[in-house]
């Protein structure tokens, strides 16, 4: 039944889908252009090591961006992810230093757990405190970072203190794809499927699209909000473990300022800040684009400071493109609109 129904449906969907996919397409094009230009100027950009670095960096940012996208789709924002990443990385680092025999899976779960607790706290504060998420998560950004600093007390965990198995996990590959990238892909695919194909996922879009209508439609808005923040927090915690595995050296400042990169990736990736639209695929592509830009600038020997200006310009471009596309789509939908003339 599904197989029979699909072709007709996809045929009709295609024209509108193209408009909605335009963003993803635009990022892919920008990415291709960037890679081409950089590679021509310096072929070393396409060396295995360079590509590996980009993918590892993207993996961590993409896990954060997927979580952020879930929250932004519900018309909220989570600014605490950088701090949560730091706390999780430091927790897992300490744990592994003291218990070298601990399996990697346990480390991943502990990290996700620590993040999940922070995320749930955010969610509960947003839901019951009736305070905008921007304010709540700005608060927890500082609180969580403060706790990490207090706990670390200036000490740092070095790579030689961590068990070799854990560091191997940060470098090992399966069919020459790093484990970190595989984990990020797994997170991306699972979250993408849930958001697209499950009732709970669609309800997140509905909440962001119109909070009022969501309430009237009987959606458990409060509970879903908490869950969205929990997911974002847990993924930030997971990203903390990946961070620890990749760099090996962890201090209390790990992940400082990441939240802005993450929000930038999500916005550039086409997740509307007013909620209700966008996808985790776009967010992950945004993470890939931003990481690649950082890497390309280094290879091109352009001052790193330009990176910030370029990212800022991209955000403005993305928002401008959103407005333009939205206006175009609205106009075409109106024209197609009422069949009563």
């Amino acid at each position: 039944m599904t197989a029979v129904g699909l072709p007709g449906v996809t045929a009709r969907r295609s024209s509108l889908d193209l408009v909605l996919r335009a963003r993803e397409l635009g990022i892919v094009l920008a990415l291709a252009l960037l890679v081409a230009v950089t590679a021509i100027s310096n072929p070393r950009f396409l060396s295995a090591q360079s590509i590996r670095d980009i993918l590892l960096g993207t993996a961590i940012l993409a896990v954060l961006a997927v979580g952020q996208a879930v929250v932004v789709i519900t018309r909220n924002i989570d600014l605490s992810v950088g701090s949560v990443l730091g706390l999780s990385a430091f927790t897992v680092g300490t744990l592994l230093r003291d218990n070298p025999g601990l399996p990697v899976v346990v480390a991943l779960l502990v990290g996700a757990g620590v993040g999940g607790v922070c995320g749930a706290l955010n969610g509960v504060l947003v839901r019951y405190g009736n305070v905008p998420a921007l304010v709540v998560t700005l608060g927890t950004l500082y609180v969580v970072r403060g706790i990490t600093y207090f706990w670390a007390g200036g000490q740092q965990i070095n790579a030689d203190e961590l068990p070799a198995g854990f560091l191997d996990f940060g470098n090992a590959t399966l069919l020459s794809v790093p484990y970190l990238v595989l984990i990020a892909l797994l997170v991306l695919v699972v979250t993408g499927l849930v958001l697209r194909n499950y009732r709970a996922g669609r309800e997140l879009y509905a909440m962001g699209s119109s909070p009022q209508a969501a309430k009237l439609a009987g959606i458990a808005v409060g509970r879903r909000t908490v869950v969205a923040f929990l997911v974002s927090g847990a993924l930030a915690g997971l990203a903390g473990v990946l961070f620890a595995a990749r760099f090996g050296t962890i201090d209390a400042a790990a992940g400082t300022g990441y939240e802005l990169n993450v929000v930038a990736a999500v916005v550039v990736g086409g997740v509307a800040v007013f909620g209700g639209s966008g996808s985790v695929w776009g967010a992950a592509l945004g993470a890939l684009l931003l990481t690649t830009i950082g890497s390309a600038l280094a290879v091109l020997e352009i001052n790193q400071f330009w990176q910030q200006a370029i990212v800022g310009g991209l955000i403005l471009l993305a928002i401008g493109a959103d407005r333009l596309v939205a206006a175009r789509v609205a106009a075409s939908l109106k024209k197609r609109g009422s069949h009563v003339s």
Binding site: S209, Q212, V329
Partner: protein, 501 residues
């Protein structure tokens, strides 16, 4: 055709918001296969009743029974599960999601691994639209649909949920004639399939065209429930407004002076058009009409909060720049808006700061606002208006509704306006304060201020106004002098009934 036992009964339900009793001991029964009209003036409690059925508000007392068993409608989800679908005047769709998804939200057909079966979802939407005889593409997003189409999507939603009770809260307010007919055809087929229909409208011809029974509400109380055939339109109007008009309105007789406000051909698409009128010094002119007829929009456009698409506004013989509240204020226009919490006051600021806000420049010395001059001015005006407060430095949000309204008035009166525009000046305030606000308006008119008042309360309109301008659907449909204006004549003009009593 109708069932013998009621599908849904509301028994003695009451609901208060703070001190305001919105609904008091209202009972009525809904039968399957029957369309039931709910009529009453603005503020009679219709919307509150609807929200209780929708699970948005919980009744303070009384009970709701479905098929004879009492049910609790604590959340909209409960109402949905009970088979009650509500279609609001402003449809509540998700603009970013597809039409099919809007219809199926929460009940999407599931396939393998509990994933949403999109093909089935689209087929379901297509079936529903075929049944309704409309052609809306299920895959398009809800954004950009006309209000009429959005309402049809809402009805499709109700159909897909097998709703047994369908409530329509003024669904026709924004529709054209053709669209209304199509909606009614759909509503009739719903009713013939056995659904109980609740229909709210201000248009009597629609009620008679669709409904079998009518329940009349007034001031939150149940007046009567009758078969529509037993009731003439005149009688319905009389029961809706039937209130003793003996409340004292201290309107002083003033000989009108020069023209202060002159509005010519004012137009804002698609809200209103062809608005022509004048207000003279010392005159109180009321702008009457139903909610949504465009009254507030007209005054907002005059003041410049909203833009205008055509026409001129002159104050004291000089043309006002469109879209500039600053220019309007400079010309001596003051607007006391309808929603004082949102538009009239800064709730977190002190009383004195609120009162002196529009004149903060005039009261400051060398660019600094000095506390003493601010306090002196605020004190003078709050005393004149007999405002009750603890200290001038208290937050405005801590005052009662009536006193808040006085602070808004004080704020604008302290500017000594030539033209005072008040939008719903006494909504939600108690009788005593109401009388004070009325006396104040009358005094101002006597001092030569031109007053333009938007009000949904007929006694206030009739008691205060020298002239009543009646609006319907964005047009000025009648200008009634004080001598001609009665509850009936205003109501008939506002609802489009040409019958005279």
């Amino acid at each position: 055709m109708a069932t013998d036992t009621p599908v849904l009964r509301m028994r003695d339900v009451s609901k208060s918001f703070g001190a305001v009793a919105a609904v008091q001991n209202v009972s009525f029964d809904l039968y399957g296969g029957e369309a039931h009209a709910l009529v009453g003036e603005n503020g009679a409690g219709k919307s509150t009743l609807v929200k209780m059925l929708a699970g948005v508000h919980r009744p303070d007392s009384g009970s709701i029974e479905l098929d004879g068993t009492p049910i609790e409608l604590a959340t909209p989800a409960d109402a949905k599960a009970a088979g009650i679908a509500v279609i609001y005047q402003e449809p509540t769709l998700f603009p970013d999601l597809s039409v099919a998804e809007n219809i199926a939200m929460g009940r999407q057909p599931l396939g393998r691994f509990k994933t949403i079966d999109r093909a089935a979802m689209h087929a379901q939407a297509e079936q529903l639209f075929a049944r309704l005889g409309v052609s809306i593409a299920p895959n398009r997003p809800a954004r950009g649909l006309s209000i009429a189409d959005q309402q049809l999507v809402e009805i499709a939603k109700a159909l897909s949920a097998d709703a047994r009770v369908v409530v329509m809260d003024e669904p026709t307010a924004a529709l054209t004639g053709v669209e209304v007919e199509r909606l009614f055809a759909v509503a009739r087929s719903l009713r013939d399939d056995g659904a109980a229909l609740v229909f709210i409208s201000h248009r009597f011809e629609e009620i008679t065209a669709l409904c079998e029974k009518v329940t009349i509400l007034r001031d939150g109380k149940h007046v009567s429930t009758d078969p529509l055939a037993d009731l003439s339109v005149d009688e319905m109007v009389r029961r809706m407004v039937g209130r003793d008009l003996d409340a004292l309105f201290p309107k002083q007789d003033v000989t009108p002076g020069a023209v202060v406000l002159s509005v010519r051909g004012l137009r804002r698409d698609p809200v209103f058009a062809d608005i022509d009128f004048e207000v003279r010094a010392g005159e109180i002119v009321a702008l009457a009409g139903l909610v949504g007829s465009g009254r507030s929009e007209v005054v907002q456009s005059i003041f410049g909060v909203d833009p205008r698409d055509g026409g001129t506004v002159e104050v004291g013989g000089r043309k006002l720049k469109p879209g500039s509240p600053r220019a309007a204020m400079a010309a001596g226009v003051a607007l006391v808006p309808e929603d004082r919490r949102q538009q009239g006051l800064l709730m977190e600021l002190s009383i004195e700061r609120n009162v002196t806000l529009p004149r903060s420049r005039a009261l400051s010395q060398l660019g600094f606002l000095t506390g003493s001059s601010e306090r002196r001015s605020a004190k003078e005006w709050t005393t004149r208006l007999k405002t009750k407060y603890g200290r001038l430095s208290d937050e405005v949000g801590t005052l009662s509704g009536g006193n808040q309204q006085k602070v808004v008035l004080a704020k604008w009166l302290s500017m000594a306006p030539k033209l005072l525009i008040v939008d719903e000046p006494t909504r939600g305030i108690d009788v005593g304060t109401k009388a004070e606000v009325h006396r104040l308006m009358s005094n101002l008119a006597a001092e030569g201020v031109a007053v333009l008042m938007v009000s949904s309360e007929l006694p206030e309109v009739l008691g205060m106004a020298d002239r009543v301008l009646v609006m319907r659907e964005g047009r000025l449909v009648a200008t009634l002098d004080r001598s001609e204006a009665t509850e009936q004549s205003v109501m008939f003009a506002a609802t489009g009934q040409e019958v005279t009593v």
